[in-house]
Structure formats: structure tokens, C-alpha cells
């Protein structure tokens, strides 16, 4: 008889411990007894898969049995969790069938989590024995764990939205109500075209998003053209512009716009006094939302288009010119067709970002609602209509996913530009005169506006009342950030400290998980072959296109009640950060991996190293830039996020952004803006420090990712 392999034995033991020694229900409070001692008969069958697994590894290895047993264990775990919840049977037909409300159980806890992990790993082992993932247990296990996590924290919640949309508020199945809500004129009405009433919220959203997409693309293009095709020294400016939106929570721009152009805004007052123009509320609504979003998202478009434009080989334009084409003709017939797919891409990105933006419409939208704010009010407002929230979320999701699918499949095949644009000698053609003047004409006012906005963010909180009374004051700063000496020594008495510290704490906790999840996923996608790889890639990247508001609603619907109950905890906030920001890690990892020749992994494998060692010793040291990027981004994006977490915060776990939006909502602009300024400065400090330590010069890039270090500067592992 062969000695049984260690891996499955260990995980059978851990699974058994989960049933025998770890509290099955509850995560931090109200912990229960372990599964087998909780007096819950439907948990007893969970022991069976472990016994069968044991049989499958002792003696002749029987991977089939192992696969069946562990899959059965998982299935049973999920089924009992979905069918039996805190108020009895979940489904009406079960109540009818059994004639009673059925047994009850609270939400699953640590025991269930450990048991699920053990089953997943046993399943991975069994599959690997059957040749899955080339028989590599580590790869199979990583793959299954990542897929399981994405399924639990991205797809299960989104499915919960769908499920909740087809039910009435009492939980009964009500497809007619769903249809009524889905087709409601409040969503789809086109009345504004005839001028009678406002249009439905879906059309409002689409119109603003399309407008923002077009404007950001044009501005981004103007910037890219000026940066690459004129002699204007743009490097430092571009750098600043690419960093600022990353460290600025998006709604801060809306806030600054109100302080500049609102009824009592600085510029409004100034112009009003100068020309005697009556002050108006024009900024609230479409103009404000559009300007704020264009300010916020143009840098992204700029980075995309810089990449696209760099990819147009100068030799092509030179060829055109030697063929007697004029500059204008060259631009129109060579450059323009080559960058057109890039423009469409940039438009779609702007479109998706605008649709997903929640905080700017909230702050500056006035009476003009878009889908994301409507969802929010449906959940927290007086009506408290979760069904309506779910329907709106479905509509929003449909729009963003359509744009995402278009971006990936339709554009994916149409990009001629080779990003990076290596190996093409030649000097890019300068811009035709008229175009150059047009670019400057667009950029200069826009830059002035940006400067005004950021100036307002920095100083707005240090005057009594912007516009009306510009006397400097530290009042707001002290209210938010005072430190006092009390009986017990120094303490942070300012009103902002609590949310600030909680934010940093949760962002730091989420950071390593986000990066690990992203980089591991990238590694699976780029370096491993397994059935369904393309689907996996699509689904992993898709979570990027799910608007935060949708995720927020989904998490409330999914994790408020058993089988998994997490709302009200800091954990759920950290989880939402991890899965919202994971795609950043995936992108950074993919970009970095594509620069590492595959023969390095293969050399390691032929030298007898297993995939885990190869990943740790060979790839990870070279993936350092991607790891740093993923860490930094997951932190910064967590700190600036607002849309998903606004649904998830509680009194105990309040976050900086949510606190600021709350202040702005009740008109306390002083504190809101002072806090925003501090947040922006803090993040800038973090980036500077990281740059100092890591020496990584291009952290600020959002779209493309820095190349790997020269080998000589890379760390050699001990």
C-alpha cells in the first residue's frame, strides 16, 4: 500500500475540525456550538463527504470519489443554507409541502467558512489528480478558491438583485409587479422631448453619460495631441493631471463647483457684482453634473488616448507625407482612422464612469436624478422600496454591461494601434495649424477651471463663507481635526477623526487581499490553461463595470440575512473594497506578466520546481511593480470610494467620504471641504512616501502600467 498523500489528509482533518471544534454559526458575536454539537440534524450529513474523502485517499487513489464527495459536501452546505434561514423555510412551496414554517437557523459563521474551504481544496486536489490544470494542485486550488470568492461576493449578490426584483416587498413572487416597475414611465418616459414633463431617469442617465463620454474624449484627445504633437512642455502638467483624479474623491469636484458657481458661489458673486447679473441656480442639475464629471474623468480619457496616439507609428505618417499628402490630409486619412477605435474606447470608458458615478449627482444634481442616485433614494428614502431599487439597479447594470461588452468584444478586434509603439523610428507629424489652435483653445480654459476647482478645494475650508464672507478662519479645520488634552491625556476630539481612522484602517485591511486576489487572478489568466479560461477572464473583469451603487444595493440584499449575514460589520466594507478594486490588480498583473517571458516559468518547471515555487521565486520578484501598483491603488481607491460603501456604513463604521457627503448634504460646506482637502493632501503624501521608498516613478498611471525594473535594480531574494 502506498503512503497516502499529505495534502488531502490535512484538509480532511481541517474539515473535521470545522465540524467538531469551530462555532458553526456567527462570526464575531453570538457564536454557536460546532456543527455536530449544535443539535441541528441537517448539518450531520456534512461529515459524510469527509469520511468518503478519507476512503478515497487511503489505499488505491480514487479521485472520482474524492471529487464526488467534496462537491457533494459543498452542494449540501449551499442547499441547506439557502433553504433554511432565520425565519424557517425560505420558499413558500416548502412551507406548503411540509405544512409548517419549518426549522430555523442563523447565518453561517467561521465553522461553515472553514468547512467550505476544506471542501473546495479537496475538490481541487481530486480534479488535479484527474489532470485538471495539468495536474497541478496549487493551480487548481487557487483557481477554485478565486472562482468561489468571486461567485460569493460578486455573482451571488447580483443574482440577489434579480431575485429581489421579481418579488414584492413581502417576499412573495410577483412578476407582474416587476414588469410594472421595470416599464414604469418614471424610468422610460420621453416626455421631455415634447416639453411637458421631465424624462425618465434612464434616459436622463444615458444622455448625461453620452455627453460626458463625448466631452471627456474630445478633451482627452486635445490633451494627448498637444502633449505628443507640439513642443509645449507638458510632462509635469500631465503628471499632475494623471495623479489628481486618482487621489480626489469624485464628489469633491462637485462640491468645489457649488462653491464656485452655486447661488452664493465665489464666481457667481463676483460676476454678479461686476455685471449686475441676477444669481441663479443653473449649476444644479445637468450642467453641474456634466462639468463635474468631465473634470473628474478627462484625465482617464487623456491617458487612454496618450497610449493610443503613441501607438500610431510615426513611420506611417512619414510614409504618407512622402506620398505628397499634406499634413491635414495625413491626419485625416492616416492618423484619424488609426485612432478611431481608441476614441470609441475612451468614449465607452467615460460613459461607464459617468453612469457609475453616484456622488456628483448626489451633491450637485439638484432635482435632476440619475439612476445611481435614484437607487440610493429608493433604499434610504421615505418610500424604502427595495423592489424599485432592485429594478433600477438592473437597468443601470444592463447599460454599463452593454457598454462593457461593446468595449471588449467590438473594440477588442478593431484596435490597430500597438500600445507602447516600440520599434518605430521617425518623428511624429506636427499638428496642422487650425487643429493646434483648436486644441489650445479647449485646453487652456479647462486648465483654468481645474486650477480654480483645486484652489477652491484647498482654500474653501479656511474662509468663513465662500463668496459671501471671505475672512480666513480655522474654525472648520478645528471642528473636524482638533486634538485636545483631557483628563486621560491627549485625545482626538475633532468630529472627523473617527471616520478618518476607520477609513484608513479598513482600507489597509483590504489592501493586501485586493492585491493578492488581483495578482493571483492575473497569473491564472496569463500563465495557466484550464477549461473556461476566457469566461473566467470576462467575469473577473466584468466586476469593473458593475457600478458601486449596484454593488451596494446587492450587498444589502444579499448579506443582510442568512445564510451569509455581514451587514453592519467592517468586514463587509473591506470585502466590497477588495472585489471592487480587484480588476486594478488584474490589469497591473496582466500588463506586467506580459513583459515577463514565458520561458522563465518553463525553465523553472523543467528544473524541477513546482508552480508555487515558480510563482514565489521567479515571478513574484519580477512582479514587484504590479504588486506595488495594486497595493497603492487598492488603498487609494478604497479611501476615495463612496458609491458602494454609502449603503454599508454604520454609526460604528463610518467612512470619510460618506461623512463628507453627509456634511455637504446638510449644507455644512466648510467642514466638508476642509475634510476633502485634508483627504487629498493625505493621499498625496502617501503617494509621495511610496515613491520615495519604492522608487517607482509611474505609480500614478491608471491605464498602462510601468515596465519592470531593470534586472540590476531588482531585489535578489536571499
Amino acid at each position: 500500500m502506498q503512503r497516502p498523500p499529505r495534502f488531502p489528509l490535512i484538509w480532511v482533518a481541517i474539515g473535521a475540525a470545522a465540524l467538531l471544534a469551530v462555532p458553526w454559526y456567527g462570526l464575531d458575536d453570538r457564536l454557536s456550538a460546532p456543527a455536530l454539537f449544535a443539535g441541528v440534524p441537517w448539518l450531520w450529513p456534512l461529515a459524510l463527504p469527509l469520511l468518503l474523502s478519507l476512503c478515497a485517499v487511503f489505499g488505491r487513489p480514487r479521485p472520482h470519489l474524492l471529487i464526488a464527495a467534496s462537491a457533494g459536501g459543498l452542494l449540501w452546505l449551499v442547499l441547506q443554507g439557502l433553504l433554511i434561514i432565520h425565519r424557517g423555510w425560505t420558499y413558500a412551496w416548502l412551507i406548503e409541502l411540509t405544512g409548517g414554517s419549518g426549522p430555523t437557523q442563523p447565518a453561517m459563521g467561521w465553522g461553515a467558512a472553514v468547512y467550505a474551504l476544506a471542501c473546495v481544496l479537496l475538490l481541487a486536489y481530486g480534479l488535479a489528480c484527474r489532470g485538471f490544470c495539468k495536474g497541478d494542485v496549487f493551480v487548481a486550488a487557487t483557481l477554485l478558491v478565486v472562482v468561489g470568492l468571486i461567485a460569493l461576493f460578486v455573482f451571488y449578490p447580483v443574482l440577489c438583485i434579480l431575485a429581489s426584483a421579481v418579488r414584492d416587498n413581502e417576499g412573495g413572487f410577483a412578476p407582474e409587479q416587476f414588469l410594472a416597475k421595470l416599464l414604469s414611465p418614471s424610468i422610460w418616459s420621453l416626455a421631455c422631448l415634447t416639453g411637458a414633463h421631465g424624462c425618465g431617469v434612464a434616459w436622463n442617465t444615458v444622455a448625461v453619460a453620452a455627453l460626458v463620454g463625448v466631452l471627456t474624449t474630445l478633451l482627452g484627445l486635445a490633451f494627448a495631441l498637444v502633449a505628443l504633437r507640439t513642443h509645449m512642455p507638458m510632462k509635469p502638467l500631465l503628471r499632475a493631471l494623471s495623479i489628481l483624479p486618482i487621489i480626489t474623491p469624485p464628489f469633491v469636484i462637485g462640491l468645489a463647483l457649488i462653491l464656485l458657481f452655486g447661488r452664493a458661489g465665489m464666481i457667481t458673486m463676483w460676476i454678479g457684482n461686476l455685471f449686475d447679473i441676477p444669481r441663479s441656480r443653473w449649476i444644479y442639475g445637468v450642467p453641474g453634473i456634466t462639468i463635474a464629471q468631465v473634470l473628474a474623468f478627462t484625465p482617464i480619457a487623456m491617458l487612454v488616448l496618450l497610449g493610443v496616439l503613441q501607438g500610431v507609428a510615426p513611420s506611417l505618417e512619414e510614409a504618407s507625407q512622402t506620398l505628397r499628402a499634406s499634413r491635414w490630409y495625413t491626419f485625416r486619412s492616416v492618423t484619424w482612422p488609426l485612432i478611431r477605435p481608441g476614441l470609441a474606447n475612451s468614449f465607452l470608458i467615460g460613459f461607464i464612469e459617468s453612469m457609475a458615478d453616484f456622488a456628483n449627482p448626489l451633491v450637485i444634481g439638484g432635482n435632476f436624478n440619475v439612476l445611481s442616485t435614484d437607487i440610493f433614494f429608493a433604499v434610504v428614502g421615505a418610500s424604502h422600496d427595495q423592489g424599485r431599487a432592485a429594478v433600477l439597479a438592473i437597468v443601470l447594470l444592463a447599460f454599463t454591461l452593454t457598454a462593457f461588452v461593446a468595449q471588449r468584444f467590438w473594440l477588442g478586434r478593431r484596435s490597430y494601434a500597438t500600445v507602447g509603439g516600440k520599434g518605430h523610428a521617425g518623428i511624429p507629424a506636427p499638428l496642422p495649424g487650425g487643429l493646434r489652435i483648436a486644441c489650445y483653445g479647449v485646453i487652456v480654459p479647462w486648465l483654468l477651471l481645474t486650477i480654480a476647482v483645486y484652489g477652491m478645494i484647498l482654500i474653501g475650508g479656511f474662509v468663513v463663507s465662500v463668496g459671501r464672507d471671505n475672512t480666513p478662519t480655522l474654525e472648520y479645520f478645528w471642528t473636524a481635526f482638533s486634538i485636545e488634552k483631557g483628563v486621560g491625556g491627549w485625545f482626538l476630539s475633532g468630529s472627523a477623526w473617527n471616520s478618518f481612522i476607520v477609513t484608513i484602517e479598513i482600507a489597509l485591511i483590504a489592501m493586501p487581499f485586493t492585491a493578492a486576489l488581483g495578482i493571483l487572478t492575473a497569473w491564472l489568466l496569463d500563465r495557466q490553461q484550464f477549461p473556461g479560461r476566457r469566461t473566467f477572464e470576462f467575469l473577473a473583469m466584468m466586476s469593473f463595470a458593475i457600478p458601486g451603487t449596484v454593488i451596494g444595493v446587492a450587498y444589502i440584499l444579499a448579506f443582510n440575512v442568512p445564510p451569509v449575514s455581514l451587514t453592519g460589520t467592517g468586514t463587509i466594507i473591506a470585502i466590497s473594497f477588495a472585489f471592487r478594486n480587484m480588476p486594478v490588480g488584474i490589469r497591473a498583473g496582466l500588463a506586467n506578466l506580459s513583459q515577463i517571458d514565458r520561458s522563465l516559468d518553463e525553465a523553472s518547471l523543467t528544473l524541477g520546481a513546482r508552480s508555487f515555487r515558480t510563482l514565489r521565486r521567479v515571478l513574484l520578484p519580477m512582479l514587484r511593480p504590479a504588486v506595488v501598483t495594486a497595493l497603492v491603488y487598492s488603498f487609494v481607491r478604497a479611501v476615495t470610494a463612496v458609491s458602494a460603501v454609502i449603503f454599508l456604513v454604520t454609526g460604528r463604521y463610518n467612512l470619510a467620504t460618506v461623512y463628507i457627503v453627509g456634511r455637504a448634504d446638510v449644507g455644512e460646506y466648510g467642514i466638508a471641504i476642509v475634510y476633502s482637502a485634508m483627504l487629498v493632501l493625505f493621499m498625496m503624501l502617501v503617494l509621495l512616501l511610496i515613491q520615495l521608498f519604492v522608487g517607482e516613478r509611474r505609480i500614478g498611471r491608471r491605464v498602462d502600467v510601468p515596465p519592470i525594473d531593470a534586472p540590476a535594480t531588482a531585489l535578489a531574494p536571499a
Binding site: 517571458d597 523553472s604 521567479v618
Partner: protein, 357 residues
């Protein structure tokens, strides 16, 4: 039965609709240097990767040292590979690179360093252990890659076009070094190249591949002197392929008519009727007499060590390419010459049984 170092039993490899290898069966003896030779895309790298375990065969069985390894991963096979790009880990020193495989197989660090140093000095790089790969020249990197592979004392050592990143001068030198190393350590080496000179120079045996199949398998001399197909004749060395007629066969010999000339050659399975003759450029003897085929010099080129001529022959619609050693009294363009053939370098090629690539 002796145990072979590597054996393929009806192995095929497909990537979707592309067939990279089509039902290959062959065996490679221990301690020999075997070259896989063929044009780009014919499946050489695929074959090597199948042996290394970097790809899984679609059908068939692969044996290494008598053991079925078809389902084993690269990690589990006792086979090392020197990559075309060398694949040295850029973030590890030379010594760390060479130690890597030893450490991965659980050998103590001090022992690993000792073994690695020994192999580094074997390839002439003792004292370079602390450098990073980026601080070495191409030839030195190549030697590190070799040291890293042989330190594990693999059953089979694979080279995928190891010289393609070196400049022409260095190539001959490194080629001889590899050959020398293989002989002194009695390694089983499988060596991929698309350069026929390289293959002829170092191989015990050459496997010529074409379009996912083995075109011919034999010693360098055998392949050069007796190619079994148009493809092989053309691929190994230059050859003039001319149509001939086999008029009769007797024992091992066939009588062949080429224009007015009657030749007697080993038939190697060719049957009576139309056939092809492969004529090496050196095998054509030119004279001003009238004893052989009469031809006319169309072009001539002086190459220092020899002359190259293109000759037209009446009744043959192809020019013959001829190399002549006499550079002192060269022929001129337009000269009438008489052609005869030497004893070696002329061979009958059986009717094409292989699609031409």
C-alpha cells in the same frame, strides 16, 4: 531489449485545428547527440516541449529511460532544457540561477553551491557566480544556461536553437563546446536547429522534419549522400534536382538516363520510370572536352575559395548550379563546357511521397 533514452510511440500533437506533430514514432539511444532539423514551423520546438513535459501529447505515448512519462508534468520529469532565450532568471545571480534546480529538489544549500560551482567551472565561468545575468555577454549567458541544466544530471538534455542569439563567429565555437561537453559527460542530447551546417557538424544522428512529420532519419553522411526525398535533398546542402528516367534495375543498381548520359546508381527503392536525380554542386565536373553533357556557362561568380557557375544544358529547362575549385583558370560567361559527374554526391531520389512545403 536495450532501454532507449527517449521513445515516441505514435505521438501526435494538435492545437485546435493546427497539427503540430502527426503520429511520430522514434527512439533515441543513450549518450547520443540527436538533432531535430527542419524549416521554421515544422514542429521541432513542439517535439522538444513534449519531451520536457511543457506540453501534453494529444495522442500517443512518450517514454523516458523506459518509463512512461506521458502524463507527468515538467516538474516530475528528469529532463532539462536550454531555452532559445536562455531564460535566465534576471533577478538572481549566476550562482543562484545554477543552484535553483538543486534547491527546488530539496538539496542543502551548501551542497548545492558546491555542485553549482563545479559545473560553472566546467563551462569556464568560475568566478562569475556573483554576477547578474545582465552583466554577462551572450555567450556567457548561454553557458550559464547550460550549467544550470546539466547540474541536475538529467537523463536527457534538450537544446532549442541554442545558438540563434549568438553572432556568427561565436556560433561555431559554442557549438563545439556543447559537442565536447556532450561527449565528455556522455549526455543524451536532443538539439533543435534549422541550420543544416550546424546539424551536420555535431550530430550523431539527424532527424529531418517537414510539416509535422519526420522526413528522414539518419547519420549526417547518410542524409547528405542519400537523401530520400526532394525535400531532404534540397534542405540539406544545396542540390540540383533534375528529372531522369530509370531504364532498368539490376540487384541494387539502376541504370539511369540523363539526356545523352547513361549513369549507374544504387536505386534505393526507386522503380523504373520517371524519377529525380539529386546532384550536389561539387559533384559536377566541368571540362572543355566533349565527353559528357554539353552545356553553356550563363553566369559565373568568384568567391575567393571557389567559383560558382550557373550552367544551361540543352533539353533541361533548369540551370545547374555548380561549384568548382579551380579559381586560377576560371570559365567565362558564354563558354561551352562538358559536364560529367563525380563518384559521390549524385543520388536517385524516389518519386515524391511527401507533400512539398
Amino acid at each position: 531489449m536495450t532501454i532507449r533514452a527517449v521513445e515516441f510511440r505514435a505521438v501526435s500533437k494538435r492545437y485546435g485545428a493546427v497539427t503540430a506533430l502527426e503520429t511520430i514514432s522514434l527512439a533515441i539511444d543513450r549518450g547520443t547527440l540527436v538533432t531535430l532539423l527542419g524549416p521554421s514551423g515544422c514542429g521541432k520546438t513542439t517535439m522538444l516541449r513534449l519531451i520536457a513535459g511543457l506540453e501534453q501529447a494529444s495522442t500517443g505515448q512518450i517514454m523516458v529511460e523506459g518509463k512512461d512519462v506521458t502524463l507527468l508534468s515538467a516538474t516530475e520529469r528528469d529532463v532539462s532544457m536550454v531555452f532559445q532565450s536562455y531564460a535566465l532568471f534576471p533577478h538572481m545571480t549566476v550562482l543562484e540561477n545554477v543552484c535553483y534546480g538543486l534547491r527546488a529538489s530539496g538539496i542543502r544549500k551548501s551542497r548545492a553551491v558546491e555542485l553549482a560551482q563545479a559545473k560553472l567551472s566546467l563551462v569556464g565561468l568560475s568566478g562569475y557566480g556573483a554576477r547578474l545575468p545582465s552583466e554577462l555577454s551572450g555567450g556567457q549567458q548561454q553557458r550559464v544556461a547550460v550549467a544550470r541544466a546539466i547540474v541536475l544530471e538529467p537523463k536527457v538534455l534538450l537544446f532549442d536553437e541554442p545558438l540563434s542569439n549568438l553572432d556568427a563567429k561565436l556560433r561555431r565555437h559554442v557549438r563545439e563546446e556543447i559537442h565536447e561537453l556532450q561527449r565528455s559527460l556522455s549526455l543524451t542530447v536532443i538539439y533543435v536547429t534549422h541550420d543544416q551546417q550546424e546539424a551536420l557538424a555535431i550530430s550523431d544522428r539527424i532527424i529531418v522534419m517537414s510539416m509535422a512529420r519526420v522526413a528522414q532519419d539518419g547519420t549526417p553522411r547518410g542524409l547528405y549522400e542519400q537523401p530520400n526525398s526532394h525535400f531532404v535533398a534540397d534542405f540539406i546542402g544545396d542540390a540540383n534536382i533534375v528529372p531522369v528516367v530509370i531504364e532498368g534495375r539490376q540487384n541494387e543498381l539502376a541504370s539511369v538516363r540523363l539526356g545523352p548520359l547513361q549513369l549507374t546508381l544504387p536505386h534505393h527503392g526507386a522503380v523504373a520510370g520517371p524519377a529525380e536525380l539529386s546532384i550536389r554542386p561539387q559533384a559536377v565536373l566541368l571540362s572543355r572536352g566533349t565527353s559528357g553533357l554539353s552545356g553553356r556557362v550563363e553566369r559565373a561568380a568568384y568567391l575567393g575559395s571557389h567559383m560558382e557557375y550557373w550552367i544551361t544544358i540543352a533539353g533541361l529547362d533548369k540551370e545547374l548550379f555548380v561549384i568548382a575549385q579551380d579559381v586560377m583558370a576560371p570559365l567565362g560567361v558564354g563558354d561551352e563546357v562538358s559536364l560529367t559527374f563525380g563518384r559521390t554526391g549524385v543520388a536517385l531520389v524516389p518519386r515524391e511521397h511527401l507533400e512539398l512545403g
